[in-house]
Amino acid sequence: MFRLKNMRKSTKSNLVTFGIVIGFYIVIQILSALGLLTSSLSGQLVPICSYVILAVSLNLTVGILGELSLGHAGFMSVGAFSGTIVWTTLYGQVPNWLGLLLSFVVGGVVAGLFGFIVGVPVLRLSGDYLAIVTLAFGEIIKNVMNACYLGYDSTGLHLSFKDAASMNMDPTGTMIINGAMGITGIKKASTFTIGIVLVILTLLVILNLINSRAGRAIESIRDNEIAARSVGINITKYKLMAFITSAVFAGIAGVLYSLNYSSLVAKKFDYNTSILILVFVVLGGIGNIRGSVIAAALLTVLPELLRAVNDYRMLIYAIVLIVVMIFSQSPQVVAWRKRILDGIRSRMKPGPKAKEVQ
């Protein structure tokens, strides 16, 4: 009895989340067919998908594992650059679908590798070191990519972190990354449909992970590390699993984002972007995956809708953030909200005690 009910509850909740994503896709398709989609909104569709993936994946680290990460944009960056390099170098050599697939795979794998490199030394320690290290990681990646010159000619690959001249490249060679100017002349490949497919893939993997043996182990570490170890959980393993999965999807989101534009610059993936993604997670509710989806989508279009008051955008963000934090964190408000919700529920369902007696 109990089991069936419980299973249905989590499955139902996941289905609602997928329903929202698919519903959003259908609505946009209809609006688009009717010609009702403004160009500014249609330009936001791929970034929305990208930010949804970023928020959902960061929530795995912040909400499910319970570790603060301030460098999600860094993983987005390494994914974007590696994936875009694959896309531009393979362009015209292999079928587009294959090139695209490979660029997403490479972007995800490279970001995951960086997740491993950052995570291994930090996650073995208990304590809040991850926040500091990921913050530094994001800044280092930004500065390194900003100063990175990469190209190839008949003699092979050339790399420099000083300037284009010190690459010693033949003038007829091809520039891949041109320092602060980044990668230019990218053939735009991301579409809303690809974005939605990736959002669904991300949700499938992360929701299924959460509702599994491994996911429970990850949540138990969040709730009580000492108790988790005492029941036989290898906490380093599961911390790494969560953190690397989170990084992989940030990388995929980076590729999706990058291939939506003709150029890619490292400056885009800075501290502000990491904080913005964290804001989505906090506003949507820490540990609440569906909340991340909605918050990321709404807050990505919000600035577009608030164009007129653009100067106050960050101010509005800050106010909304504070209000929502009070709404979701303060014990008094949580208790008050619960009373109201319970009141509504008991009015809708007769015999609220039935469940407990059973």
Binding site: F2, R3, K5, N6, L204, V205, N208, L209, N211, S212, R213, A214, G215, R216, A217, E219, S220, R222, D223, N224, I226, A227, A228, R229, S230, V231, G232, I233, N234, I235, M241, G287, E356, Q358
Partner: protein, 253 residues
């Protein structure tokens, strides 16, 4: 050979020798008590036995295997489970999931089986649900399975900790003040439960408890610690009448 053999175990925190020269021998299926005044070092002994603290001297052998200084998760796998004096549940997880987490090394499937929802996923999850509910039922917690652990009243939280510890399929169960905060009725009920757990699972139980009726009522053998050292050892009767023990407790107050 006894199930647990502890010899010359000691630990110092800076200048403070919290436990010194501790010898313990616990046979399979025995109910064993560890008592002593506040600050005597009882919890510290549990922390060494479960790998939370690394002893500065001595060794711990479980079932012929040296587990001294091993990490807590390896010691759990070796067969030692525990509860905590200050309850440590997974508060934001359901009562059922608290037990399912502890089945981690008993019923296993890979991360990919979970992510891809392979057929083994359903099968193993059902097996876990069944097993977790069976354990919860022993402690009369099956009705609360879908509540969050933090929503349980205090006494039931203590019981959930025991159910969770049992889920790891231990050979030795360590209970740190299981009756703390319980009323006399709950305490009496817990005594029966602890006894029947020992009989049903055939495991050894080492428990710390300040409630003397509890300890004398169910433990076959008792060790008394004071200032980190053993001052007495024997059955309930000999402990009760031991002048050193009486002095330690009176002095402690």
């Amino acid at each position: 050979m006894a199930l647990l053999e502890v010899s010359n175990l000691g630990i110092a925190f800076g200048g403070l020798q919290a436990v010194a020269q501790l010898d313990l021998k616990i046979e399979k299926g025995h109910l064993y008590g560890l008592i002593g005044p506040n600050g005597a070092g009882k919890t510290t002994v549990f922390n060494m036995l479960t790998g939370v603290y690394t002893p500065t001297e001595g060794n711990i052998v479980l079932d012929g295997k040296d587990i001294t200084g091993k990490s807590p998760d390896l010691i759990s796998k070796a067969g030692v489970a525990r509860t905590f004096q200050n309850i440590r549940l997974f508060n934001d997880m359901s009562v059922l999931d608290n037990v399912k987490v502890a089945l981690h090394n008993q019923i296993r499937y890979s991360m990919w089986t979970g992510i891809l929802r392979l057929p083994a996923y359903r099968e193993k999850e059902h097996e876990m649900d069944r097993e977790a509910l069976r354990l919860l039922k022993i402690f009369d917690l099956d009705k609360e399975a879908s509540l969050k652990a933090s929503q349980l009243p205090y006494g039931k939280q203590r019981k959930l900790e025991i159910a969770r510890a049992l889920a790891t399929n231990p050979k030795l169960l360590l209970l740190d003040e299981p009756a703390a905060g319980m009323n006399p009725n709950e305490t009496a009920e817990l005594m029966n439960t602890v006894r029947s757990v020992r009989d049903q699972f055939g495991i050894a139980i080492l428990l710390i408890e300040h409630d003397m009726n509890f300890v004398m009522g169910i433990c076959e053998e008792i060790t008394v610690l004071d200032y980190g050292r053993v001052i007495a050892h024997g059955d309930g009767k000999s402990i009760r009448n031991n002048p050193k023990v009486i002095a330690a407790y009176l002095g402690g107050d």
